[in-house]
């Protein structure tokens, strides 16, 4: 068991709102400094739980997928063992470092390096070395595949490049409701669609943009203006949380004035299916019916009748939007201070469309969200250009951006804490007298 400090003393579920985290201008060199980017590697990327997959996607022994993270030159094979346990291994052979898996995903009886044919079992143990008698003293028991820390939460798989993580994923995920964990764990979640792209901006800008709603009526004026009312949407930060720095609770406007006028296409999408986020999923008696209803408290913390979906920043690089019967996940992977790989995925726990109306509903939501997303990402590249000019004094954040302030604070605290540890490690040891 890793030596973990007692972390139960702080209330990682406590949130702040408004200006409780302060109101000072936030510096922006963290978005373009090469030095800061290098520090992030140790402070954040090698010491955080990273959202990489779903355990049910590798349900049988030998099922695997590969997680690659080019910035760290890393490839991890995530595979289910014969014992039913999911493990993550660095994708290289202990002989001379060649890959043991070349495919992105699939199923294997064992893992074998194609260079000289060393064979590992599904638990990572070295079990076969061709011409083993040619070695002087080969101790196979010391030459298993190198493992990374791996844990699951709600059926999702997380890895950590720190071999002895200071905290469990469960601790990392506070304050997410346990009912949300159950909603994830107990329902049959499956991936339906996704996009990817490379953006010329810092990775953190793509998180910032997705966790505040202040921008919707301006940036999204050509798509969803009037669908949400920013002052009515709760914007939270969790200053003591390890992995959930901020949250936004998306709501429809309570006031009819200025409310979005839904088009005939949107109304029909809501009539025949339930993929449109604005769909309230009420039956004739006015009660909700969706998979999420089996897990009271999983969504819609305040039980607001105007609630549409939740939106959590999951530190460091993920944003999840859990809602009724489905969820969007955005993940970003830095390439350089100014370039980022971006992924946007749709996961569902309801059945795939069975009739044309449901397909129409899906198509309307899919294309509609794509149009909104192209507005978000366009902005991030422009912001990066501004920051790199060196002329931007900082970000001036409102109470509607407390989630962003909470996220940035988590980033800055991690790097400062890392620098402190580095300085302490570099200090010459004082030799006692006598």
């Amino acid at each position: 068991m890793p030596d973990r400090p007692n972390t139960e003393t702080s209330d990682r579920s406590a949130f702040v709102q408004g200006h409780e985290l302060g109101s000072e201008i936030v510096p922006v060199d963290q978005y373009y400094s090469d030095e800061f980017f290098e520090l992030e590697k140790g402070a954040i990327w090698k010491d955080s739980w990273l959202w990489v997959g779903r355990a049910s996607d590798i349900s049988k022994p030998g099922d695997f997928f590969v997680f690659e993270f080019d910035m760290l030159h890393s490839a991890i094979v995530i595979v289910r063992g014969k014992d039913g346990k999911v493990r993550g291994f660095h994708n290289y052979c202990r002989h001379r470092g060649s890959q043991v898996v070349f495919e992105r995903e699939g199923s294997k009886k064992h893992l074998q390096c194609n260079f000289h044919g060393w064979v590992y079992d599904l638990e990572g143990k070295l079990v076969g070395v061709p011409l083993e008698d040619q070695y002087a003293n080969l101790d196979k028991s010391c030459l298993g595949l190198k493992q990374v820390a791996l844990e699951t939460w709600g059926g999702w798989i997380f890895i950590n490049y720190n071999p002895t993580p200071k905290h469990s994923v469960r601790e990392w995920m506070k304050p997410l409701p346990s009912a949300l964990e159950e909603y994830f764990a107990n329902e049959n979640w499956y991936w339906r669609a996704g996009y990817k792209d490379i953006f010329k901006c810092n990775w953190k800008l793509l998180v910032d943009n997705q966790i505040e709603g202040y921008h919707v009526n301006s940036l999204h004026q050509a798509t969803v203006k009037g669908a949400f009312l920013p002052p009515d949407m709760k914007t939270l930060a969790f200053p003591d949380s390890l992995g959930v720095p901020g949250k936004l609770e998306w709501c429809m406007p309570t006031d009819e004035a200025g409310k979005i006028k839904l088009t005939e296409v949107a109304l029909l999408a809501m009539k025949y299916g339930k993929t449109n986020p604005l769909y309230t999923d009420k039956d004739e008696a006015g009660t909700f019916r969706s998979a999420a209803d089996k897990y009271p408290g999983a969504l819609n913390r305040t039980d607001s009748p105007d609630w549409i979906f939740d939106d959590y920043a999951i530190f460091p690089n993920t944003v999840i939007f859990p809602q009724k019967d489905y969820m969007w996940i955005q993940r970003v992977w830095p390439i350089s201070p100014h370039e980022t790989a971006w992924e946007w995925d749709w996961w569902f726990c309801s059945e795939p469309p069975e009739n044309f109306g449901e397909l129409f509903s899906w198509e309307q939501a899919y294309t509609g969200l794509r149009n909104i997303t192209t507005e978000d990402v366009d902005t991030a590249e422009g912001i990066q250009r501004s920051y790199r000019s060196g002329e931007v004094d900082g970000q001036v954040l409102s109470a509607l951006e407390t989630s962003v302030r909470g996220y940035q604070k988590r980033v800055l605290d991690s790097v400062q804490e890392y620098q402190k540890r580095q300085r302490q490690a570099a200090k010459p040891k004082v030799v006692g007298k006598g």
Partner: protein, 119 residues
């Protein structure tokens, strides 16, 4: 009661143009259309939309009769053109990146490449 057949002779010219099988095909068609063409398509389809969806709903998705398949794709194309006609007044959004830059993922684990080779 849902009719056994649906007469869509009036929509045939649009079905010939918009009966494209994938979301991507329909996106490209939208980007290459004039706003006038999009408006004419949207105006012709809108009053028939509910009736068409109801009609197609009687079949399971993998058993839509051949003669209605292109109509089904044309109906889905209404999702593609709706923002352009109802909100932007142009075939593309004036305030957004091109959706063509997004690459479709094949699975959740399809996250390569992670570098464009230029900064």
């Amino acid at each position: 009661m849902v009719a056994e057949t649906l007469d869509f002779t009036d929509l045939e010219p649009f079905v010939k143009q918009w009966g494209l099988p994938t979301t991507h095909d329909r996106l490209v068609k939208r980007l290459n259309s004039s706003f006038e063409d999009l408006t004419a398509f949207h105006a012709a389809m809108t009053p028939r939309l509910d009736e068409i969806i109801q009609f197609l709903n009687q079949f399971s998705l993998d058993a839509i009769p051949e003669r209605y398949q292109a109509l089904a794709w044309t109906t889905l194309a209404m999702c593609e053109v709706d923002d352009a006609v109802s909100k932007w007044g142009a075939p593309t959004s004036p305030l957004a990146a091109s959706p063509l830059r997004f690459t479709y993922k094949k699975s959740f684990y399809d996250n390569k490449p992670q570098a464009s080779g230029n900064e």
